[in-house]
């Protein structure tokens, strides 16, 4: 089949930066390309837009096809439209990002990818196309955003300690936070409900458990807030 237009058109793709948190680190999901260009090279999951398919659906479909990942909340990151970012021709890519609980998502390469794996951010190799730049943009967005909207709280158990919450922030920000300062600021945000319960089955002194106040949390998410760490 051939498709003909009166003006030349750039191609459009969607790419996904999926961050995964496990007990140790912030990781990113990559696939190993099975085709030229950059055959054998690691890259962000993604692929070509189909006519009639919403561009976010393209991202969702390609993510599932290449990594098996489904049901992920994708947020639009940025559209990269430099005409030289793909050696074949002018390809505009709409990039999305997501933050998921790594343990809850089994990854397997599917069609269009030789391999799919989680990489620690520090260990990410040279990627295909401008994907290192897209990844960098996503890291900045994630770490910038966590300062004014609650992020990743859905990755915690329903009842959690302030230590667990601090560890979540430390993993995402990739640095150690001052305990006293963190507690003061997180409580000041006024989105936590202090429960009348403490941890069980822990070797150390059992800490107070908290849960999110969903109503306040939604309001804060909408309004944004500052969380200077």
């Amino acid at each position: 089949m051939k498709y003909t237009y009166t003006h030349p058109r750039p191609a459009v793709t969607a790419d996904c930066v999926v961050f995964g948190l496990d007990d140790e680190d912030l990781k990113v999901l990559l696939i190993q390309r099975d085709n030229a260009p950059f055959e054998g090279c690691w890259a962000l999951p993604g692929g070509f837009a189909r006519v009639g398919e919403a561009i976010e659906e393209t991202a969702r479909r390609e993510l599932a096809e290449e990594t098996g990942l489904k049901g992920v909340f994708l947020e639009q990151l940025y559209t990269f439209g430099d005409p030289h970012r793909d050696p074949r021709e002018h390809v505009i890519t709409v990039a999305y990002f997501a933050l998921v609980n790594l343990a809850a998502h089994t990854v397997r390469p599917d069609t269009d990818a030789r391999n799919a794996a989680w990489f620690e951010i520090e260990d990410v190799p040279e990627l295909a196309f401008d994907h290192n730049r897209i990844l960098q943009t996503a890291c900045q967005r994630l770490r910038g955003k966590i300062r004014y909207v609650p992020i990743g709280f859905e990755l915690l158990p329903r009842k959690f300690t302030l230590r667990q919450l601090q560890q979540l922030y430390e993993k995402i920000l990739d640095r150690t936070l001052d305990k006293r300062n963190f507690r003061k600021k997180i409580l000041k945000m006024d989105i936590l409900a202090e429960l009348d319960e403490i941890e069980t089955d822990v070797a150390h002194r059992a800490a107070r458990l908290y849960s999110f106040d969903k109503r306040k949390y939604d309001r804060m998410t909408e309004e944004g807030f500052n969380f200077e760490l």
Copy 2:
């Protein structure tokens, strides 16, 4: 000429939401379409991407062609990729936004537009395509963003009073702010330099003049900050 591809491609456009501030209000720059679809209808300035042209350049070129506006700092807003947003076919648009000093920008319709004019946000009519939705997204972004990054300060004179700064924020946010609260918060941001000068040629009591501390301002812009009003 005909351009042929092995797979069908959505078309790509860029659209611009240019906000202008004058002495009274926050306005938006619209053009009246000269072609079908939506002929005669008001719309955001914008047009089709060219192969080999960076997508931001498309936005910049179309803005100049349709309104005469040049040298505007455009920031990417969002990419709208719903396949039904254009009645002709699947058109993905990359939307940009900007905030300019209205007085400094003379607007004249050029090629591809019948007319170009500034509209008060409240008086914007039903626009072509999904442009009302794009405008709404831009308003939310602008008003959300002003809460954590300094916006629009370049629209003020080099030396300004806190009253002038408050008026700027009030116009963008479209609401009255408490004077005492505003001053406390803006000074706490620590991006202003208090000058050893006061207003001249004013009927009311002359107020202290301030200027921006560019170094602090750049740092804050990069890091983001909260400005709860």
